[in-house]
Amino acid sequence: MNVTSRRFANAVVLHIDGRLDQDTCGAFTSELMKYVDSMAHGGGAVILDLSSLEYVSSAGLRCFMLASRQAKAQSGRIFVAALQPMVKEIFEISHFNLVFQVFPSIREALGAVSAEAAAAFDKG
């Protein structure tokens, strides 16, 4: 599993590539928490770009839950976007779509964060 980041004004988009399960969730959580901490302090948001996430297990979903709790505790925000059909269905089956704000695209998620973040994305 691989994580890359891009900054758009007060939002950071984390692109997650591969499978998120019990084997990969430990390293992923450590990485994710760094971004949650840094963005929350600036009043910003973390957007999880799941367009290249092939599979997420219950252990992987727990990573998202931990990050969400951490973000809320620090008055930060965390959104998920661009889910592949299988991952989208797993979100629904596990009722994570009731816990997270899920957006069809990165652009729409950035728009929910701020006009500046959306504008920065549009500039490319």
């Binding site: 019990q22 969730c25 430990g26 599979y55 297990s57 219950s58 252990a59 979903l61 727990r62 839950m65 709790r69 299988m86 269905e89 797993i90 629904e92 089956i93 596990s94 009722h95 994570f96 009731l98 816990v99």
Partner: protein, 318 residues
């Protein structure tokens, strides 16, 4: 071997209300609109084949009590929740005045798992032998306590049966009648124990009131080993996953999704969702079942896992 479910609800018994019954009936009438039935049998066949389970059934309301029926004269029962009352009626009818021998296996002694014992008819029949097995030190204390004044009018000493308490050792197989029984420690307030029952090449797992910490690979592997190749796994699926690991984390229960994952790891054949949340109605429980089945399809490896939801009255033949 046959598994018979007498109580499947968690925490506290629930019952359908008059409003629930009317709602089911009204929905069934809408679905059957325009159809005519010449007989009760024709209508019954239509209801069985065409209507959703949650309209024609209820998942039931008794707290945990599961019978494992094997050839022989003795009875084998997991937990003494309120389902022990109808089980007692069944035992008395089947015995036709002949005293029974009943082997009980307690996951733990929280109230929902012992509350049926004062209403278990065979306990009042002289000559009946009841052996209550478990790993908890306070097993006997808990059973006696709930039949002490002012909680219940009939004291322990007034019971007619000969009652023995048998301490089991976790992870140590023990022969009880014709079954080989292995208890396994589970994460739950005050501890709980799952049981692996083996006989004649068939295996049933009873694993309720058990939370699984998803970050702990060793724990998952230990449970997969405990469930290994089981024919039936009766599993605590009280919540949806998001609920189980957020607002209800550390409440000592698990989810339908984790049940599928552990059974897949274990190459088990049939997962039975159990210990239903009392706040969930039949439609919600059917939804959780459908979601578990779909998750199994999405994540299936080389072996399909059958997924069912337990209801009071369900029988599974192995």
């Amino acid at each position: 071997m046959r598994v018979r479910f007498w109580g499947t609800r968690g925490s506290i018994p629930v019952a359908l209300t008059a409003s629930d019954v009317r709602d089911k009936l009204a929905q069934a009438l809408v679905q059957a609109s325009g159809k005519t039935f010449k007989s009760y049998e024709e209508a019954h066949a239509y209801a069985t084949a065409e209507l959703d389970f949650n309209l024609t059934h209820t998942f039931g309301g008794h707290t945990p009590c599961v019978e494992i029926e094997v050839p022989g004269d003795e009875y084998y029962v997991c937990d003494m929740g309120s389902g022990a009352r109808p089980l007692g009626v069944h035992v008395l009818a089947r015995q036709a005045r002949k005293p029974a021998t009943v082997n009980i296996f307690q996951s733990h002694v929280h109230w929902d798992h012992i509350m049926g014992f004062p209403f278990f008819g065979p306990a009042y029949v002289p000559g009946t032998k009841i052996r209550i097995h478990g790993c908890h030190d306070q097993l006997e204390h808990a059973f006696r306590l709930q039949q002490s004044p002012p909680c219940f009018p009939v004291t322990w000493e007034q019971l007619g049966a000969t009652i023995e308490f048998v301490k089991l050792v976790p992870d140590k197989p023990r022969q009880v009648g014709t079954l080989t029984v292995t208890p396994h420690l589970q994460l739950h307030g005050g501890d709980s124990y799952g049981y692996r029952f083996e006989q004649g090449g068939k295996t049933v797992i009873y694993s309720t009131d058990s939370e699984h910490k998803l970050e702990n690979r060793a724990e998952a592997e230990a449970f997969a080993a405990f469930f290994r190749n089981a024919d039936v796994v009766i599993f605590d699926a009280m919540y949806a996953l998001a609920e189980a690991i957020s607002v209800k984390a550390d409440w000592g229960h698990s989810s339908n999704i984790v049940g599928v994952e552990l059974c897949q790891m274990a190459h088990a054949k049939h997962l039975v969702l159990f210990h239903h949340e009392p706040a969930n109605n039949d439609a919600t429980l059917e939804g959780l079942l459908k979601e578990a089945r779909r998750f199994e399809e999405l994540t299936r490896g080389d072996q399909a896992l059958k997924v069912s939801a337990a209801y009071d009255g369900l029988e599974i033949d192995l």
